[in-house]
Symmetry: C2
Subunit: 348 residues, 2 copies
C-alpha cells in the first residue's frame, strides 16, 4: 500500500520503502514504538512533493506520532513496555550546544535530525517518519502521553500543538492579556484552544465570517474580521500578542497596528518569503515581528501535560493510509476540521 500514495510516487525506489523502514536496531538508549496514530501536517505535503527541493526518496513522512513502547534499550530507563508515548518533529540533536543545553533542541546550533527526510548516522541514509508501523528513537526524544488523553486526538499536539504552545508561553501569555490568533486551520485551532486555556482573552482574526461560530466553539472570546477596516481600526493598540498561523505569503503589516507598544506578532505558519515589511508600525510602537519553531523536548512534555490537565486535543478526522492522497488534496483546499490523523492499524 505504501507504493501508491503520492509521497512515494516521485521515487523510483518506492518498492524498497517497506524494507527500509525498520532498518534501525534498538540501541542501548533507544525506544521501539508500535505506531498507532500519525497526524498529517502540511509540511508532509511540501516534503513528499519536493516543494522545497530537499526531498530524499524513498520517503516516509509523518512527525505527529503516537504509539506504545514495544522494546527498550538497556539504558532507556525512563519508559516502560506498553506505555503510551509520542514522537514529534525531531529525533536527535547535538545535546551539547548552547541551545540544546538550554532545552531548546529545536534551535540546535549543529542542526537537529528531523523525524523524516533528514540525514542520519544510525543506520545511515535518511530518517523515516510516522506513516509506518514502528519507529526506533533515542529515549531523550520520546514524550509521554498523559493518561486520559485520546491518543488519536493527541497526535497533532506533537507539531500543531507545540508550534502554538511554545510561542504563547515564550511571550508570557496569561490572564489579563489579549491574544489574537490569525488564521483558523490546523495551527490556528490549536492556538485558540491553548491561548484560551492559558486564561488570555483570545480573539480569532480571520478573513472569513463563516469561521466565527467555530472559532467561538473552540474557545475564542471574540472574532475580528480582518477585511473590516473599521473593526480593525477599532482594535488598534489592543493586543499583547499575535500568533500568525497563515501558511502562505500575505500582507502581514495590516495586523501590526493591532499590537500594543512592545507587542509581538509571531509567525509560525509561513516559512520563507512572507511579504513586504513596512517598518512603520514597528517604529511607531516598538513592535516586533518574530518567528518560532515547534519547541524543545522539555517544553513539549510540559505542553502534553498541560493538555492532559485541560483535556485538550486536536479536532481531527481519522483516515486510513489509503486515503492519504485524498487527504492531501483536501488539506490544500483547507477542507479539514482541523487535522487528519492516520490510523496506522490500516497499514497492512
Amino acid at each position: 500500500m505504501l507504493s501508491t500514495p503520492s509521497y512515494a510516487a516521485h521515487s523510483s525506489q518506492s518498492p524498497l520503502v517497506r524494507h527500509l523502514i525498520s532498518r534501525r536496531n534498538v540501541g542501548p538508549n533507544d525506544v521501539q514504538i508500535a505506531i498507532e496514530f500519525c497526524g498529517v501536517c502540511h509540511t508532509d505535503i511540501h516534503h513528499s512533493r519536493n516543494d522545497w527541493g530537499r526531498a530524499n526518496y524513498p520517503m516516509v513522512p509523518g512527525h505527529e506520532i503516537v504509539g506504545k513502547v514495544t522494546a527498550l534499550g538497556a539504558n532507556a530507563s525512563h519508559l516502560k513496555i506498553g506505555q503510551q508515548v509520542a514522537v514529534g518533529c525531531f529525533v536527535n540533536a547535538c545535546r551539547t550546544c548552547s541551545s540544546c543545553q538550554s532545552d531548546m533542541e529545536q534551535y540546535c546550533l549543529n542542526g537537529f535530525t528531523a523525524t523524516y527526510n533528514s540525514p542520519s548516522k544510525d543506520p545511515g541514509g535518511f530518517t523515516y517518519g510516522g506513516y509506518s508501523k514502528s519507529i526506533v528513537v533515542n529515549e531523550h526524544f520520546v514524550l509521554k502521553i498523559p493518561e486520559g488523553l485520546d491518543p488519536a486526538g493527541a497526535a497533532p499536539l506533537l507539531c500543531a500543538g507545540i508550534t502554538t504552545y511554545s510561542p504563547l508561553k515564550h511571550w508570557g501569555v496569561k490572564p489579563g492579556m489579549t491574544v489574537g490568533v490569525i488564521g483558523l486551520g490546523g495551527l490556528g485551532h490549536m492556538g485558540v484552544k491553548l491561548s484560551h486555556a492559558m486564561g488570555a482573552k483570545t480573539v480569532m482574526i480571520t478573513t472569513s465570517t463563516g469561521k466565527a461560530a467555530d472559532a467561538k466553539r473552540l474557545g475564542a472570546d471574540a472574532v475580528l474580521i480582518s477585511s473590516d477596516a473599521a473593526a480593525m481600526q477599532a482594535m488598534s493598540n489592543q493586543f499583547d500578542f499575535l500568533l500568525n498561523t497563515i501558511p502562505v505569503a500575505h500582507d502581514f503589516n495590516q495586523y501590526m497596528p493591532l499590537l500594543k507598544v512592545d507587542g509581538t506578532m509571531c509567525i509560525v505558519g509561513a516559512i520563507g518569503a512572507t511579504g513586504e515589511l513596512n517598518s512603520g508600525p514597528l517604529v511607531f510602537g516598538r513592535r516586533n515581528v518574530a518567528g518560532s519553531l515547534v519547541g524543545g523536548i522539555k517544553e513539549t512534555q510540559e505542553m502534553l501535560d498541560f493538555c492532559g490537565k485541560h483535556k485538550i486535543t486536536s479536532d481531527i478526522e481519522v483516515i486510513s493510509i489509503d486515503e492519504i492522497n485524498q487527504a492531501y488534496e483536501r488539506m490544500i483546499k483547507s477542507d479539514v476540521k482541523y487535522r487528519f490523523v492516520i490510523d496506522m492499524g490500516s497499514l497492512a
Copy 2:
C-alpha cells in the same frame, strides 16, 4: 535669508515665515530658548521637500536644538535663565495615556506633537522647529545639557543620539554582549559610540571597506563587510543585537542569521516599505525584527547625562544657515561625517 533655502521653496507663503516663527507667547509652563545650534536630520529633507506628502508650509524644520533659556513661565521651575538646554523631536504629548504615563511620550497613544510641521493648538496652525533664533516649549519637553559637553556637538544627540541609545538600552546592551551596528551615517556613528560606551563588543557592519578605519576610530572593535559571504557566514549566531540604521529599503534578511537565538534586529533608519521579509531566519532561531522611535523625555535626559559622563558628542560639520541647501545635497550623497549642525548665530 529664510526665503532662499529649499525647505521653504515649495511654499508660496515663505515671506510669512519670519513673522510666524515667534508667535507663541511664553505660557506659565513654558520655556523660551535662544537657539544656538540646530542639527540637520535626514527627516528635515523629507519634510521640507514633501517626500511624505505631509508638508505644511511655511515650514521651519529642525529638531536637534540646543540653546540657552531666555524666559521662563511662572510654573517652569526646574530650569534657570541662561541654562544650556535642548529640545528634541517632540514638544507635546497627551501625558495621560499608558505610554505617556510610562515615560514613553514617543509612543503617545493620542499622538505626540512633533517639534515642527505638526498641528498645534498653541498658538494654532503648525509647530515651527529649530532653524530659527528662538523657540517656546513646555518645560516638560526641555532637556538639560550636561556641563562640559560641546553644545554644537550635542545637538545631534537629540535625534541621532536618542534614536540609537533607546533601542540599545531597551534590548539590554551591556558588557559581554556582541552588538552589530548596520550602516555608518548620522545614526550609525552614534550607535557605534554608544554601544562601545555601554561596554558591548561592537561590530560595524557595512558594505564599504573604506569605512573600516573610521568605524574603529569611533569605537568599533571589528568591522564586518556584509558583501563578504564567507565573513558573514563565519559570524552566524554571534550577535545579541543588531541596530539597523540603513535609511532606505534593502535586503535586511541577510543580517538575520547573524543573530543568536532570541536575538533582535531593530530598524531605526528606514521607515515604510523596507523590503521582502523572509521568515526563515526568524522561525529557525526565534529571532525578532523590531523598530524603535527616538525615546521618551526621561530617557532622553538619561542619554544626555550618559553622554556627559562618557564625553560623547556627535562628529559634526558646522555650517551657516545659507549653506543649508548645499548641506541637503551632500547628505543625500552621504557626504558628511557625520552630521551637519547649523550655527544659528548665522541667521540674521
